[in-house]
Symmetry: C2
Subunit: 370 residues, 2 copies
């Protein structure tokens, strides 16, 4: 049975997917390395030690430089990287983790799994939902035993980019190591941990590094390697939190194959921000208001649309009318049933595609406001 992917010919504005489309090189690597354990042909002990194909070079030379950290590893995804750090630090001693209120669910669930109590650094609420260093200060003051902090850069709801430098200072002054969740940054924009601030950086290969999934990256400062990459007492080369090997298959080869493409595209990040701001302006002319940080600094945008919500109350298919109309116009990415609030991404869309989407919303609003 062959299951075709229905959205293949659609214009994709789903924030989850716009940064995960395979590069041409990755498509070739996918076919070449598809078999199970294909990358283990010449393995000498662990995934990151494999010289052929050049995983060692990617993990020990290319990634640390690209992430601006000392030590890096491949993971099965951003969430697996976050959990490995939290689990290593909690070590069944419990404690708390300070987390921005805009954090992704997988950060909260990682903390639950690691036995860490979550204390939120509150956001500023409607309409910008900003989280500042002061919010972290407040949260830390209320904590009894904070062992870690996490900041989502940008967050997955509003696409806000918190001030990491300041947040990192607050954490440092309270000697709390800071995890930067760069799932929507690494692979989209340049990010250097040691320059930006923070002690750990996690990225999502299948979300923002043009890779097949599940795969991700993890970077850290040197002095944390012995905690997070602690070796097994019996199997000396095997790192406990990595269960010895993580993304042991074709996914890592698509990550490596897409890397040159990533290095190029992050140079065009300002262009992506410009397109996003232009899109938000045009949407506001339709009465669809961008919430979150403004002016906006990321392709992920959250919109509030009273006009579409009003239409949904009268439309035949109710709140599903928007999804259905967009589907007719071969636009994928807005969750079915959403009209009042929804998020989308303009990442890597061409000028024509951006105009097409704006016109599509115009036509839909006109059609139902007759």
């Amino acid at each position: 049975m062959f299951y075709p992917r229905q959205t293949k010919e659609f214009i994709n504005i789903d924030p989850l997917q716009t940064g995960g489309r395979l590069s041409e090189e990755a498509k070739k690597a996918l076919v070449e390395w598809g078999d199970g354990y294909s990358v283990c042909d010449f393995c000498t002990g662990t995934l990151d030690s494999i010289k052929t194909p050049p995983i060692y070079k990617f993990v020990h030379e290319i990634l640390p430089e690209f992430l601006g950290c000392d030590v890096a590893r491949i993971t099965n995804g951003a969430r697996e990287g976050k959990f490995a750090i939290m689990h290593a630090f909690s070590g069944c001693k419990g404690g708390e983790i300070i987390m921005d209120e805009n954090a992704h669910y997988s950060s909260y669930v990682s903390a639950e799994r690691a036995g860490l109590k979550v204390i939120f650094a509150k956001n500023s609420g409607y309409p910008e939902y900003i989280v500042t260093a002061d919010d972290y200060e407040t949260a830390i003051d209320s904590a009894k035993n904070p062992v870690l902090a996490l900041v989502t850069y940008p967050d997955g709801n509003y696409g806000n980019l918190p001030n990491i430098k300041r947040i990192a200072k607050v954490c440092e002054s309270n000697s709390i190591p800071l995890i930067v969740n760069g799932a929507y940054a690494i692979g989209r924009m340049d990010f250097k941990l040691k320059r930006m601030g923070g002690d750990f950086i996690v990225g999502s290969g299948h979300k923002s590094m043009a890779s097949a999934g599940p795969v991700g990256v993890l970077g850290m400062k040197e002095d944390y390697a012995d905690i997070v990459l602690k070796k097994s007492e019996k199997f000396k080369v095997k790192e406990i939190e990595m269960l010895g090997c993580t993304a042991r298959g074709v996914v890592v080869m698509t990550l490596i194959a897409s890397f040159p493409h990533i290095v190029e595209r992050i140079k065009r990040w300002d262009e992506e921000v410009r397109k996003a701001r232009y899109f938000a302006e045009r949407f506001e002319e339709l009465g669809i208001i961008q919430l979150g940080e403004k002016p906006h600094n990321h392709d992920l945008m959250f919109f509030e649309s009273k006009v579409l919500y009003e239409i949904s109350k009268k439309a035949k298919s109710g709140r599903f009318f928007l999804y259905k109309e967009l589907k007719k116009k071969k636009i994928h990415g807005i969750k079915p049933g959403l009209t009042k609030h929804f998020k989308l991404s303009t990442y890597m869309l061409s000028e024509e595609e951006i105009e097409y989407i704006i016109r599509a919303f115009e036509e839909i609003i006109e059609k139902y406001s007759g």
Copy 2:
């Protein structure tokens, strides 16, 4: 940069890889669903809830029936499934896990990560390395607080198939839940948890289910689902030990695409055992002795070869002579440097390929025994 896979045209006898080659259907699914988060086009909350593509049907209808269990999930691999169970049971309260001495390193490292102390059920030593129910009885008697037991079926060194029924009885009478690590069974032979015995079954998609990796399967009896699949307190649909979603990408589509092929090939398992036994007989004529269970019941076989070891002492390239000679004959799978002891797999090899490999070893021995 395109990295070709050097072993692509080789005959593969690496136990790690013989069961992970993609089916034709999986190759098509690989290309169709390669993009990151491709399977999340119509997601309503969690990976296992996705109706299009039919992941829900696979996880909730097909897998439980295939594994002979009540509840199943997709994981990032066999080790991730083992760790999820151990971590859920240990719950930072510690305790011990009884494990066969032939257990895979990833079982031991999972226990370390979950904070469980490992107590080994000893094997019988040279030459068969058998583990019996009595060995589990002995290990349990020596344990202070055993919370779990694990049996590797078959083990990854000798390919021995322990008597699960008896071992399960011993565990049950001591009310210790039993994990069956079927990484080398699920996808190769028919296995029904509730018929064979045990409380959990883990499988490895990229090792024995003709899938791209990292991906695996996890099955359990109903009364353990609320422990292992406990939901987040804040994000009610998200399962903590699954971090909400596990193999969220193309790997799960290759697993689903290969399933009909798997259902067919497990019917021919007796034929695979017959080929393995024939191979071992022919090898013994060359003075290469199969260790482990005899007669053997699996395609994974461990060999001892004094003749090859003697040659390695005089050969120009020393203990690498075997690897080099096999490479010339386009045979991949024996670890470089091994001569005295090595393991291989005859799984899915044609009769011709089996003869070719036997003749290759004959010629190598002759060449160096002149």
